[in-house]
């Protein structure tokens, strides 16, 4: 054993194995709880009781469902492509799991004389790694749709993948201004850049009244949500669309496509698709916290100083997971053309404009007047944009009706 450890590079490997085991255990446990919590919260919002049979408050319900799916037959249609059919659920699950590696869940702890950062791996290209895992995740959906050899999954798969790739662009572009402000692609650096208080921001320096006002808000943490809120909203919308959840759950629209790309899946393979979606929800929530809400940052009393950051991180992530559930209980599903309209004509141009605005504001040597001009132009553009709106929203004329009135 020692020989192997030395061969692999010494204590790096021991730390890596410990981190890996802990991370997977934590992530899977969280996912199980999230599935149960969603059912419980949705039930509450719909004035039902929800799962209440297994364990206190039904908390073991997900585990029971999982065990049940283990013992269910797992078959595939005759027309399916054997290997691709088997590969698809793995590709739906694994990238979401792997994306967790770059999420910092806390500060560091010290065991003996060794410092252990509470992150699986602090990559110098962390943000790109997150995007890379997202782009691999598309394959799970595409392949499931194609490999089933059936019509509903094929249509659902193409629809889902077109949706995912459209919003992946917006997701990627919404991260650029954050990277620009932090000056690093590493998630640890981005969290570190959000330490401190709002009043430290140099933007208001030199302006008499604003400087005083900024001083008043010195208790507010310097999270990117304040300066980067447009990027945050783009990230959140694109993130929800990436997970294929309501109101962007068109790929699984049961009234149109049965179950979409996983119609032909059963047993444990279906469970992988199902769990993959929830892991994805947890990852998007965790990334939103890391990028815009200061990660594990928060008040840190002297009692057990290392546990507070983890507590704050879990708490903030939990709020976002709750938001996901809340949206599902509240929002009706988007129509497909509206979905594409939102992605390509609103989110992508908006994120490009916002990147440029962030760039101007962050440039040293650009005068205050120049910044004001940029904000002024931006304001006019936004007003014009909002005023123009979408004819199909205001006029309620769908293109299909127009066609009926035309030739016939």
């Amino acid at each position: 054993m020692n020989a192997i450890v030395d061969f692999l590079g010494g204590d790096i490997v021991v730390t890596a194995i410990v981190k890996t085991v802990v991370a997977f255990a934590a992530l899977l446990l969280t996912t199980l709880i999230v599935v149960w919590a969603e059912r419980k919260v949705i039930a509450d919002m719909q004035a039902r009781i929800g799962p209440n049979r297994w364990g206190p408050y039904g908390i073991l319900q997900t585990l029971a469902d999982g065990i049940k799916l283990f013992f269910k037959e797992d078959f595939r249609p005759r027309t399916a492509d054997k290997w691709t059919f088997a590969l698809a659920p793995v590709l739906a699950m694994v990238p979401s799991l792997l994306a967790f590696a770059i999420v910092p869940i806390g500060d560091h702890i010290t065991i003996g004389d060794r410092r252990i950062d509470l992150i699986v791996a602090d990559l110098n290209i962390g943000i790109l790694y997150f995007l890379a895992m997202g782009s691999i995740g598309v394959y799970g959906v595409v392949l499931a749709g194609w490999a089933s050899g059936s019509k509903y999954p094929l249509l659902g798969g193409i629809r889902a993948s077109a949706q995912m790739i459209s919003y992946e662009i917006a997701l990627g572009l919404s991260l650029v201004p954050v990277v620009l402000a932090a000056g690093s692609l590493s998630t640890v650096d981005i969290v570190a850049a959000q330490a401190g208080s709002v009043s430290n921001v140099s933007f208001f320096n030199g302006v008499p009244v604003l400087e005083q006002i900024a001083e008043l808000f010195s208790f507010v943490p310097n999270w990117y949500i304040w300066s980067q809120w447009p990027a945050f909203f783009i990230f959140l919308i694109a993130g929800i669309a990436e997970t294929n959840r309501a109101p962007f759950d068109l790929p699984e629209a049961e009234t149109e496509l049965i179950a979409g790309f996983h119609t032909e899946y059963s047993g444990i393979r279906f469970a992988l698709f199902f769990l993959g979606e929830y892991v994805h929800v947890v990852i998007i929530s965790a990334m939103a916290v890391t990028l815009f809400f200061g990660g594990w940052g928060g008040p840190k009393p002297d009692f057990l100083p290392w546990i507070w950051p983890i507590g704050w991180f879990v708490f903030k992530t939990g709020l976002f997971v709750y938001l996901f559930v809340w949206l599902r209980a509240t929002m009706p599903r988007l129509r497909y053309d509206r979905l594409m309209w939102l992605g390509w004509k609103r989110l992508i141009p908006a994120s490009l404009v916002w990147i440029m605005v962030t760039a101007v504001v962050n440039t040293e040597g650009v005068s205050r007047n120049a910044r004001l001009v940029v904000f002024g132009i931006l304001f006019v553009i936004v007003l014009f944009w909002l005023g123009k709106g979408d004819p199909r929203l205001t006029g309620a004329v769908t293109p299909q009706r127009r066609r009926v009135h035309g030739p016939s």
């Binding site: 061969f7 692999l8 590079g9 492509d81 290997w83 691709t84 590969l87 990559l123 110098n124 290209i125 790109l128 790694y129 995007l131 890379a132 997202g134 782009s135 691999i136 598309v138 394959y139 595409v142 392949l143 749709g145 194609w146 490999a147 094929l154 798969g157 193409i158 993948s161 790739i165 692609l185 769908t398 299909q400 009706r401 066609r403 009926v404 016939s408």
Partner: protein, 199 residues
């Protein structure tokens, strides 16, 4: 013998194996998947050499975006359809052999010249030292936005050409009935449902 050699061996075997498998696979989707495997293995070799950014780009753009485009084309055309044995481009094979020979010559040339093409100096340690001091992405970006500015801006023009090209192509397909067939179906479906509702 250390871990780097082992990882290199694995990625080498995967890249070569899946490339060969790609050539002999019958199914178009399998071909695309073997290509993805080769791309990921290539990304691994980039990673081994300390080219972190290129490794990420290899996965995001090649394995992620371009291969999804390939799969879309395959799914739209349908795999089961009999392949036409007539070459749509006459002399396709001859051109392919010529271009292949050119590429091989290029690879041999670069392999012989070796580290001369490394940004920021020659020698094995060049990339390692660059990764230490300004950082991988920073060094690459500095080179890209100063010395290689023109190619960078030319990329955008190239991408625009691709966009315009695909729109013209899709439009023509529409005129020949490929696009029309499906939209007319959708249209009549919509007309039926709308007709039931008194306007």
């Amino acid at each position: 013998m250390n871990i780097e050699v082992v990882v290199f061996g694995v990625s080498f075997v995967v890249a070569l194996g899946s490339s060969i498998a790609m050539l002999f696979a019958k199914n178009a989707v399998h071909v695309a998947l073997f290509l993805v495997a080769a791309q990921v293995a290539l990304a691994l070799t980039f990673l081994l050499q300390g080219a972190y950014f290129i490794a990420a780009v290899q996965i995001i753009v090649y394995a992620g975006a371009i291969m999804v485009l390939f799969l879309f084309v395959v799914m739209l055309l349908g795999v089961d359809r009999r392949e036409a044995l007539i070459e749509p481009l006459s002399g396709q094979r001859t051109i392919a052999v010529g271009l292949g020979a050119l590429l091989a010559a290029e690879i041999v040339y670069v392999a012989v010249k070796g580290t001369e093409f490394v940004i920021g100096g020659r020698g094995e340690d060049a990339l390692v030292t660059i990764n230490e001091d300004p950082g991988n992405v920073k060094a690459l970006a500095r080179a890209l936005f100063s010395d290689y500015l023109l190619p960078f801006e030319a990329t955008s023009v190239l991408l625009v050409v691709a966009i315009v090209g695909v729109m013209v192509l899709a439009r023509r397909m529409g005129h020949e009935g490929f696009l029309r067939e499906t939209t007319e179906d959708e249209g009549s479906e919509g007309a039926e449902t709308d007709a039931e509702v008194p306007a």
